[in-house]
């Protein structure tokens, strides 16, 4: 599904990703943990195609194609989905408009017709039920005035509707209360399948109780310094990241 090879990325001449290697196969769930400022959001932005990053080395192969050659919308249409750490507010654009435009963009790429209004609404309603969002959110402007947790749920709603092949969830759990965490986890678990891969960025082991990962990686200073299974997350909970600095530089490069 996804193969990241020796990926280096800089912002304004400052190297932030310093040789990432990561392979994610179809059906797998990978958790990425690591201290603040390690480069986790940078990695997800680079994968989603945000401007402003200079790729100085390495490549990313997604479904056999060179992902970095594509515009952000082309990646989205091919099934890459980023749930943002800080979802932006868009006053003046209603949620339902965005959902419809996004779904139609993906369907168009897949060679499918646009859904008619009734089918679309039926589909959206079923997805809203999944993340327990009230219908009034459809007619509000995207994320405008949403609480922190509501914004995160809105991201999961978009994901549930678009059914991506590769979902990258950047701290979707932070800011969620315990009930919301369960709801969001159920939303993500519902999407788990043999054809889909998920990369979850999180600071908390608790999320991994609900969405059990196949692999856990520690990202520090732009490199993956340790990988393991779900037990690694439990270990980190106890030890924190102080040991990271003792690792030799470039251990996984």
């Amino acid at each position: 599904m996804l193969e990241i090879k020796n990926l280096h990325a800089s912002v304004d001449g400052k190297e932030i990703l310093r040789g990432i290697n990561l392979t994610v196969n179809a059906g797998e769930v990978h958790a990425i943990m690591g201290p603040n400022g390690a480069g986790k959001s940078t990695l997800s932005n680079v994968l989603a195609g945000r401007d402003g990053y200079e790729i100085t080395q390495g490549e990313v192969i997604y479904k056999g194609e060179n992902l970095l050659d594509f515009e952000p919308e082309e990646r989205a249409q091919r099934g890459v989905f980023l749930a943002f750490q800080y979802p932006v507010e868009i006053p003046g654009v209603s949620n339902i408009y965005l959902l419809k435009a996004a779904l139609n963009a993906v369907r168009k790429y897949q060679g499918l017709d646009e859904l008619d209004a009734i089918d679309f609404l039926t589909l959206v309603r079923s997805k809203m039920e999944l993340v327990k969002m009230d219908e009034q959110f459809l007619h509000r402007s995207v994320n405008e005035g949403f609480s922190g947790g509501e914004k995160k749920r809105n991201e999961i709603l978009q994901m549930a509707l678009l059914e991506p092949s590769l979902a990258i969830l950047d701290e979707t759990d932070s800011g969620l209360d315990i009930d919301a965490l369960k709801i969001v986890s159920e939303g993500v678990n519902a999407l788990r399948s043999q054809e889909r891969s998920i990369i979850m960025i999180t600071h908390y082991q608790r999320l991994l109780d609900y969405i059990v990962p196949d692999f856990v990686h520690v990202l520090s200073k732009g490199q993956i310094v340790k990988s393991g299974d779900k037990e690694l997350a439990k270990e980190l909970e106890k030890t924190g990241y102080s040991w990271v600095d003792e690792q030799p530089e470039g251990v996984s490069a």
């Binding site: 515009e71 952000p72 932006v88 868009i90 993906v106």
Partner: protein, 436 residues
């Protein structure tokens, strides 16, 4: 450089001929003569005048306009295709001449009168020139000495007009470089209520000149909702004054949507002369290429307890230039005035230019006034979110542009008019755009 007094069009001699014409009522002769005298002294305003600092009439002064419209016939379905509404009382002016066939004002609600200026001017002695002054900004003198057509609407007291009145002013391009001088008058008696649209359309890509003055008089508790949709040709000149007197507890909502013309200038003025009167003065301008739009607005809070709310938004692309100058005057005794003014601009290109100047002059001490102006570009985070959800860049930019403009539209109370205007605005959104 030549002075603006050297005009390629002999406006003054056209006016002299009108004044000399047989059968012109003496009062109208005098009205035109006074305007002509004023015009001969002051000519077209030059850039050294404060109100015209950012807008040059040089290119207008160099155009040789015609004042003789050749007769032209256009099909009713052509008017249908440009009209904003299809269930309105329709008044159509083609190349400066009222068209009875194309208009739909035969069966008017009682208490409503709509006539063409050319047919009723003799009866307008104490009506024309009441809301405008020759010395005021704009081209009032030029318009007064040359006005030859327009729409006169009057509504009796306590009458509520259910249908919207749409004035459609069309330039067909049949007469090259035609100048038309229009004067509209809208008069609402006490407690009357109406909705009027002024709609300007160019069917030609060529140059022409629309000069219009609209005078509005609102008696006690009268309520007028007024829209102006300007879709002139991109080579046209459109210069307009809109002036309103508002009596006690009257309510005026005006929304000025400016999309076309090479050079468009609006001088919009409300005088709140009676207590509890209110004006909502909104506007939206979308310009690109070499277009220039200039909106000068003014609200006078002349008595206590009046309110105003003004929202002007602009979207600029290409090498366009927009000017916003909004003055709110709170006069000495106008206590408890509540005035709010805002001008926001979205710049889509590097080549465009905005001069925004909101102004408040306050001579009373117990007032609530706020104003602001903002200039920005498309938000890159918003753009990325939309693209990361699969929208291509052009659609994402145009969606965000629409989202920026939309609150001028959501303030429109009438749903069918709001939807019709939204459609027009959507069609006019930039379809391409360089990265800002």
């Amino acid at each position: 450089m030549k002075q603006l007094s050297e005009l390629a069009t002999p406006f003054a001699s056209v006016a002299e001929a009108l004044i000399a014409a047989e059968g012109t009522a003496p009062w109208l002769k005098k009205l035109r003569q006074d305007a002509l005298t004023h015009f001969k002294t002051f000519s077209l305003p030059a850039k050294k005048e404060e109100d015209w600092k950012y807008t040059s009439l040089w290119s207008l002064s160099q155009q040789a306009f015609s004042h003789h419209a050749e007769s032209v016939e256009i099909a009713a379905d052509q008017v249908d295709s440009v009209a904003l509404l299809h269930d309105a009382y329709r008044v159509v002016i083609v190349d400066g001449v009222f068209s009875e066939e194309l208009s739909d004002i035969d069966a008017l609600q009682s208490g409503l009168s709509i006539t063409a200026l050319s047919e009723s001017v003799d009866q307008l002695e104490h009506c024309l020139g009441q809301q405008t002054e020759l010395t005021k900004a704009g081209l009032n003198a030029l318009n007064t000495m040359l006005m030859s057509e327009g729409v006169v609407i009057s509504i009796d007291s306590a009458i509520e007009i259910e249908k919207t009145i749409e004035i459609i002013v069309i330039n067909t391009g049949n007469t090259a470089n035609l100048a038309t001088h229009l004067r509209h008058k809208i008069e609402l008696a006490a407690d009357a209520k109406a909705t009027v649209i002024e709609h300007y359309v160019g069917l030609t890509p060529d140059s022409y000149f629309t000069d219009v003055v609209t005078e509005v008089n609102l008696a006690e508790r009268a309520r007028l909702t007024h829209y102006k949709l300007q879709q002139e040709s991109n080579n046209a000149f459109h210069i307009a004054t809109l002036a309103t007197h508002q009596a006690q507890a009257s309510h005026w909502l005006t929304n000025n949507i400016s999309l076309g013309a090479k050079l468009a200038r609006n001088d919009i003025h409300s005088q709140l002369l009676g207590e509890q009167s209110h004006v909502t003065m909104d506007g939206l301008y979308l310009v690109d290429g070499e277009q220039h739009v200039d909106n000068h607005t003014r609200i006078d809070h002349a008595v206590p307890n009046t309110t105003s709310d003004e929202l002007y938004k602009g979207v600029l692309d290409g090498n366009s230039h927009a000017v916003f100058n909004g003055k709110v005057m709170v006069h000495k005794d106008a206590q408890k005035t509540d005035a709010n003014q805002s001008n926001r601009n979205l710049l889509l290109s590097r080549g465009c230019e905005i001069d925004s100047k909101p102004e408040m002059e306050i001579y009373a001490d117990d007032v609530k006034c706020g104003h602001g102006s903002a200039i920005g570009q498309l938000d890159q985070d918003q753009l990325f979110l939309l693209r990361a959800r699969g929208l291509d860049e052009v659609s994402a930019r145009s969606l965000l542009t629409y989202a920026f403009a939309v609150d001028v539209l959501t303030r429109i109370p009438n749903l069918s008019i709001r939807e019709a205007l939204a459609k027009v605005v959507e069609q006019r959104l930039p379809k391409t755009g360089e990265k800002a």
